[in-house]
Each structure stands twice: as C-alpha cells, then as structure tokens.
Symmetry: C2
Subunit: 422 residues, 2 copies
C-alpha cells in the first residue's frame, strides 16, 4: 500500500527542529511493507494544509500526519483533515474525561498549571474516528477511514507519538496488510558504518527476498532483515540463513537481535549475568553515560554510583587521581583515565568502573591532543584497560559519540574476559 | 519569496537516514527572509520526481533540491529538473576538468576508486546554468533560472552541501531579496505551553507584522517575533513594542532573548554573575542534569562535581543522607532531597547544590507517591528549598521533564534571592 508521511509544523519549515518523526515512521513503514513514496512538511497554514492533505489522500492509500494536534490556535491538523475528508467534528466524552484527569493532576500538583478553554478543543474528534489515547500528553491520536483511504493523525512530540504508534498504530497497520511481512533486527556496535556496508555489499547487491537494510545510529549500526511470504513460518525460513551468515560475519559485535533492546540494556544484562556492579567516573560526558544506564528500568540492581568529576579538584578528591598525574600528563591522558577507573572502583566498592576523560571542544585542544581526543578506562580487579579514541564534529556530537562508544567499550571489556571471575 | 525544499533519495523514505539537510536549509532560508512553505522528500523514481519538481516550480519561486546528483543510474535530479524546465544538458568543460583532477587524486591514494564512464555524467549541466564547484566531492551544484523561477541543485551529503550553500548559494540568495526579515526570540521556562498560548492569544489573533510564533519544547516555550520591512532598523522598530509587551507579561520567566542561548547557558550565566559554584546530587535523572550543564563550553568555571547517587547506599555514603531518613521517609521524600542538597554542598564545598530524587517508573510507584513524583532541593548557605513535582508519561519522558524542570527550578531559586549574598 502506498503511504505518505505529512509533518505539520512551521517550526520544521523554519528549521527550529529536525524532522526525526519522518525517519522513525519511514523505518516502521518499511518494516510493515508499506511503500512510502513521499514525505511532506507543511506549515500551520490552513490553505496549504488543505492542499497538502488533499494531494496526499489523492495519491496514497494511507496518510500519516504528525503534529498540529495541540491546544493552540495554530494546531489545525484535525480540523483540516476532517474538512478535506468531509467529516464533522464531535466531542468524544472519553477523551474529555482523560483530558480533565490529566489536567486535574497538573492543577493539584503544580499551581502554575491550569486548565484553559482551548485544552478542550483536544477532545473534539471526527465522527466515527478511532481515538487513540495519549498516555504521555493531552492530544489523542486518530485513525480516520473513508472511501478506501486512511488518515492517521498523531501528536508531534516524539515521546508522545512513538509509544502511540507502537502500541496502537503498528498493530492496526499490520492487520491491513495482505501479505505477511516479517523482519529480524541485528544490532551491531564497535564497528563503523562504512565497514559494515563493505562487509555486506555482496549480500545487498544480490538480495531479493529477504532484504537487508542498514541503519546508521550514533555508535551503532542496525541491520534489518525483512522477508515477505504467505505466513510467518515461511518468512522465518527465508530469514534464517541470512541471519546465520550475518552472525558469522559480525560475531561478538552483535549486541542484540531484539528490536527493542538498547545498547545500555545489553550492557546491563551482561553485568547482571556476570553478577557485577558498575560505577562510572565521567568527565567530558558529564553524566551522560550514567543517564543512559539509568534509562533502563531496574538499573539499580547493578548501578549505584556515578561520579561527574568535571574539575581536576573533583578528580583528585573523589577518585584519588594524583596531583602529579594531572600536572605531568593532564586530565585528558591515559594515566588519568586509569586512575579515575581505579579510584571509582575503590570508593564505590564496585566490581567494575568505567572512566571517561576527553576534550569535547570547542576550546581546549592542542596539536598533540586535538579536540575529540578521549581516553576511556575500564577497571576490574585492579586491572585497567585504557583505550584512546578520536571523534570529530562539534561539542554535542563529540559528547554523543563518546557516550555511545563508552557503552560499547565497556561491553568489549566484559566480552574480552577482563571481568570474568578467575 | 516562496521557497520549497525538495530532498531526493529513497534512503530517506526508508528511514535509513534522518533528513538533516532540510532543517539546515530551512534555518538558512528563514535567516534570508525566504518563506519556506513546503519540504518534500521523494525517492529516486523518475515519474514521481517529475511530478514533485513540476509542482514545486509551480507553487514556489525558488526550489532547492538536494541529493541525486551522483554518478549512479539512480541519480536523476539534474536530468529530471532540466527536462521539467525544458533545458537541454551540455557538457561543462570546467566541471569535467575538476572531476578528472578529483578522480586522479583518489586513484593515486586509493586503488579501489577508479573513474568510470558514468562519472562523466556529472560534468553534464543544463545549458546556461550557473555551475557551483564542489570542493568536497565530485558532483557540482547548479543554479538554473528560467521564467522567473529558480532551481538550485545541491549534492546530498551534508559535508558537500553545507560549504557549497554557505560559500555560493547564500550570497546568491541574499542578492535576490527585496525585503529584510528580522526576528527576535523570547525563551520562557516555568510556565506550560497552553498557559503561554492563553496569555498571548489576543496578540496572536490581531497580529500582522510583526508575527509571534510559539514553539513548545520540553519544559520551555519559545516565542519568535518576526518583522518584515525595508531595512533592519524598521524591523527593529516594529518588533520593539511587542517584545516590551511580552516582557511585561512573562517577566522573570523569560530566561533568554538570545536565539542561541539554552536554559543551561542561562543558568550558568547566573551562577557566573553571582560568583557561585554548583554541585549536583542526582538520583532519578541519573546524571542527565549534569550532562546538560556540561553541554555548555566553559561550564567548568562554575561546575566541578556531580553525584549520581542512584542507590540508597550511595546517598548515605557520598551525601551523608541519614539511614533513619531513608527508613522513615524513603529515598523519594522531601527530607531526603533536603539532605542530599545539604550533603552535596558540604562534600563538594560548593556554594549551591541542586538535588533530585524521584520515581521515574515504570515500577516503584505507590498510591501515596505515584510514578512521576519528584522532589528537588536547592541548598545555599545551609538553607534548603524543596519543591515537589508530579510528571506524567513514560520513564524517558518523566526523566526528560524532570531534567528540564530541575534547571528551571535552580534558576527560580537563584532569582528568588535564595542565593543572594547577604
């Protein structure tokens, strides 16, 4: 089925935000076997929205719209879509109830928030539409079907849109598909995007069914193997030898074959399996690695202590880094990373400690240690492995890459048996 | 002038890559005063490209296309645009020379690269087009003008497209503009999106020039005031009373009027102004607040120490939270937040310490303290202010909101004079 993604929002047209929703939805549609022919972004302008939605419904079977469902005057997606499809808006009592409950909660707890008249606009829905509850915000999603066309309206904020898509829209779209599409994910870390592309070029060049699609993420590459067949069993049969081949090629660098498992989850699972506790000693990442670890519910089983030792004083005081090390080698050095990791293990009484110290820029680089130079240390049982990395990009990009590679490095250290009990 | 951005590439429609080019170009166009009404993504398909480019040239004055200029069979942007505009392709000797020089260099350095016949396709240009040299790749850019319409063709890889845009396209477009556009940003925290919308409804309803556009971010609302006039001075004159009015309405909740300044930068500026050092004691945010503080280059001047005390043991050991507090009140309590903030100040020897402890879920909630309950403490000079928050959504969203509100809370405490030296 031909599918079109329409993102509504002047903030996208002004470049205030990057349209990550379209990338996310495109990937999901590919997984569902839907052919996305167009992505369109239109501003919060009634006439242009009308034209865009009309064209999209004309040339596509399914139109997925994101954004413009909020309570402000500018939020017109629902109103315009209903008008284009010729369906009146009616109040949905359930949505109104949810909205009131949500706002009530805010009112009780935070005197600065109050229900305003325009919030109620969010409880109006096109007659006969399927209403999708929003558990993470106030604007419900909608599925509208008419004359063989489907319009799916989702809230713009990714943290509202994604759970709604996964819980309700994905199963709905799967049921619409005549053929079974089945896919298997393989998630890789510790190898770069172009090396992965090189390693699978022969497979991709000759592929028909199943297909392999690579997705580059920061510090990770995901390969999705997708098969089409009459039933799931046949799909699995088609996929099996390809997965086997890829496992042979990427071996230990595969950290997950589970769609939903993140790198931090994989790391926490390994820690749990080996019965180890983790401490973190971060400088340039400033707590970002700890924050990713804490993304995982139940992280407290293996992670209790993190140190953000951004200053030299903190490195000395809390991790016991030697004054002479800082003086002779500097805070961004193999020796400092080593002492940070050792110190972290000792003071947190943890089995393992990962340390990160580097230059995120824009200042602070030298010829010898340019911006992007990062040292990571991993300590277990008084042994420390240190590795030097060099990242490129602006401060934000260097810190993101450092964070992702820190998790991969920790995983590698555990795989290489550094932490295996003797 | 009405402008449209067209990105060509099936890899975007499959979600393999995020379309960052459009965000970049949109921001540049806004800066140039060009009105971007649409962004469109189309795959490497001749028919659909033809339709898309025809529509774009129909409804817009300037169409900026990215991608599809490479040497492969799939790269059709130039061919299709020339056909739609009715202009024949001819070989550009200068481009052929550059191409040969570039390929020669690669041949010498990398045996895997060689000039292929289809590389020469890149030296063909629409007759009369302005050719833009590509210093970072092989595909030249093109500016084609005909019948009052302008098509600008740029290579897809951002590291080729961006320098070409800045060096050649930006000055070209600036020369085309008859009117000046000027905008002023106002960034607000500590008030919700719909309350902001309420407060400015009257202004937005009657606006013509300048206009106010609200952007909701997690824990922040941004208002962009944009004026059009003959020169920058007139623009400023139009904007001034609106900015004055908004300052009157939102007062202290405005944390910046600078486009680029983030909430964390505003907080760091306040700390610097007051000559204060900051420590952080984080539980449920797990280092995310520290990581946002460290986003700011030069944060080390005011921030040296962060504690991620995710376990009770860490709260006791590093921050001196009392065993009895944890036993009687629990880790998520006013008393614990208070002791964490006090302890953080003491051990880090900092002037001020912000503490955060809460339940991010999905587990751990009780009737009395449901998931989303967060206590934050701010300690200065042995005094602690504690505030209770209730956030909703999934674990990720609760943690994101907590992080944003933690910065806003810290700012409020500083504003309210908690930290003012006596």
């Amino acid at each position: 089925m031909i599918t079109e993604l329409v993102s509504v929002g002047t903030e996208i047209l002004l470049g205030n935000i990057v349209n990550t929703n379209s990338a996310y939805l495109s990937e999901k549609c590919a997984q569902l076997g839907l052919s996305v022919y167009y992505q369109t972004v239109v501003g919060d302008n009634e006439e242009r929205m009308k034209a865009t939605i009309r064209t999209a419904l004309d040339r596509s079977d399914i139109v997925i719209l994101t954004g413009g469902l909020g309570p402000t005057e500018d939020d017109l997606t629902k109103e315009v879509t209903a008008e284009v499809m010729g369906i009146p808006l009616v109040e949905d009592p359930h949505s109104r109830e949810l909205l009131e409950a949500y706002m009530e909660q805010y009112k009780n707890n935070n005197s600065q928030r109050r229900i305003t008249a325009n919030n109620y606009k969010q409880a109006m829905v096109p007659q006969g539409a399927l209403v999708l509850d929003n558990h993470n915000g106030t604007a419900p999603g909608l599925i509208i079907e008419k004359d063989g066309k489907t319009a799916i309206l989702l809230p713009g904020p990714p943290n509202e849109m994604k759970p709604m898509f996964e819980e309700e829209v994905f199963p709905y779209l799967r049921r619409k598909q005549p053929e079974i599409i089945y896919s298997q994910m393989i998630k890789i870390c510790s190898i770069g995007e172009s090396q992965v592309a090189d390693e699978i070029r022969d497979l991709i060049e000759n592929q028909t069914n199943p297909t392999i699609a690579p997705y580059a993420k920061t510090g990770e590459v995901h390969l999705r193997i997708t098969a089409k067949a009459e039933n799931e069993k046949d799909c699995r049969k088609l996929i099996k030898p390809v997965v086997h081949e890829l496992k042979g090629r990427f071996g230990k660098n595969i950290f997950s074959t589970d769609e939903k498992k993140t790198l931090e989850e994989a790391v926490i699972d390994m820690l749990k399996d080996q019965g180890l506790t983790l401490a973190l000693a971060e400088s340039c990442t400033g707590g970002a690695v700890a924050s990713r670890i804490v993304n995982v519910p139940g992280a407290s089983e293996v992670f209790g202590h993190g140190f953000v030792t951004y200053s030299n004083r903190a490195k000395r005081k809390f991790l016991g880094v030697k004054k002479s090390t800082l003086k002779t080698h500097g805070a961004v050095s193999e020796k400092c990373a080593k002492e940070m990791a050792k110190g972290g293990c000792f003071v947190a009484k943890s089995d393992i400690c990962l340390s990160i110290t580097g230059i995120a820029g824009p200042g602070g680089g030298t010829e010898e240690k340019p911006v992007g130079t990062v040292f990571m240390g991993c300590c277990y049982n008084d042994k420390v492995i240190v590795r030097e990395f060099h990242f490129t990009g602006n401060r934000m990009k260097i810190r993101e890459q450092t964070t992702a590679h820190a998790l991969a490095f920790l995983r590698e250290c555990m795989l290489e048996g550094v932490t295996r009990k003797e």
